[in-house]
Symmetry: C2
Subunit: 215 residues, 2 copies
């Protein structure tokens, strides 16, 4: 398809498509003459991922470039490409350096992950952003005196594990490795607000059942 068609099918203006091409986020089409290029399904799919990261995930272009670099690194296996792309996504604040609650939080997290026996290899180890984000969140709970022991975290981890199985089931329905990797990254970002809003709605449901007097 030509650029106009790519723009129409993706719901993206031609100016935006050209911007993504210039920035190297979208790979160039196959040149058919000096002024025109031909695009295919892979461009359409890539445009969807870029829009998910920029318009919904609000990632800066430089971060999107980094995420896409990991997605496209075909010297690595599929797991490593997903892991490296998720690694490049923005994460919450780490515990501030020198925070005395960080060491205790690290201990809690280590005990939790040992209990779960998750064998995720290097990509989710103690140096990974997701692990640092968890330590930061646990440190904040410790510091403020809210409950957050290994036992208290366990049901959250079990819920997260079920969500992750659902995520990967969805990803495996895509037809090939490239499409699966792109879907894994997009769904990681796009399902975060789904999960957080459903938790707030579910809290209202449970709170109404336990404490409500109005209905």
């Amino acid at each position: 398809m030509r650029l106009a068609q790519l723009s129409e099918d993706s719901g993206t203006t031609t100016a935006t498509v050209k911007y993504y091409l210039r920035e190297g986020l979208l790979p160039p089409g196959r040149r058919v003459n000096t002024t025109q290029a031909e695009y295919d399904e892979s461009h359409l799919r890539r445009l969807r991922l870029i829009r998910a990261l920029i318009q919904v995930g609000r990632l800066p272009v430089s971060t999107v470039r980094e995420v896409l670099g990991a997605v496209d690194d075909d010297t690595r296996d599929q797991h490593s490409r997903i892991g490296a792309a998720v690694w490049a996504l923005p994460h919450g604040a780490e515990p501030p350096a020198g925070d005395p609650s960080a060491a205790a939080a690290e201990e809690t997290v280590r005990a939790l992950l040992e209990r779960l026996d998750w064998g995720f290899g290097r990509l989710a180890g103690p140096e990974s952003p997701a692990y640092r984000m968890l330590v930061g969140a646990v440190a904040a709970l410790h510091r403020l005196g809210y409950p957050c022991t290994t036992d208290e975290l366990l049901p959250y981890a079990e819920a997260a594990a079920r969500v992750a199985e659902t995520d990967l089931d969805m990803v495996e329905r895509y037809e090939n490795a490239d499409a699966q990797i792109e879907a894994a990254v997009a769904c990681t970002v796009l399902y975060e607000p789904v999960l957080l809003s459903l938790r707030r709605l579910a809290e209202a449901e449970v709170s109404n059942r336990r404490f409500g007097t109005e209905d």
Copy 2:
């Protein structure tokens, strides 16, 4: 206790405690003479909540004031006070006005909530920010062509329901209604990064098991 003790026990500088008092976020202590006031456990607990909202949740002071107003509204029952406080918390972007995917998303969300038979009353109805946030997230998935039917959302909602039961179990361990309401609001905010980081770690675990070749 005096202000210096309150500052020490809460790990907050006296300047910050005085700022929260001036802003009306922290209720005044009981005057013991013209220059000194006496504070108690309820001040300590309130300081913890304020720090959770400002330092971890990054809420602006005006939003914190609104959340605390709902927490303190003792003309309402406990469920309504929690619901109104969570209502005042920041939520993700709503679907842009006139987005053609918003109507379809609203239909998907309505069908999901009917299927779940959650009876949460007015505080989590179609006008609530959590409901609007869910519609916005589903609209983005629809618009970008990623999977997001009622059936596909169901396992996420079931995971959210289990998380919410755990949340409220934790809240019910607090000794009285005021402490329970404050803990419900703080834990809603503080456990969001816990849940998101655990999901990313769990995804790495599941992805390694299904696609990994390195270990």
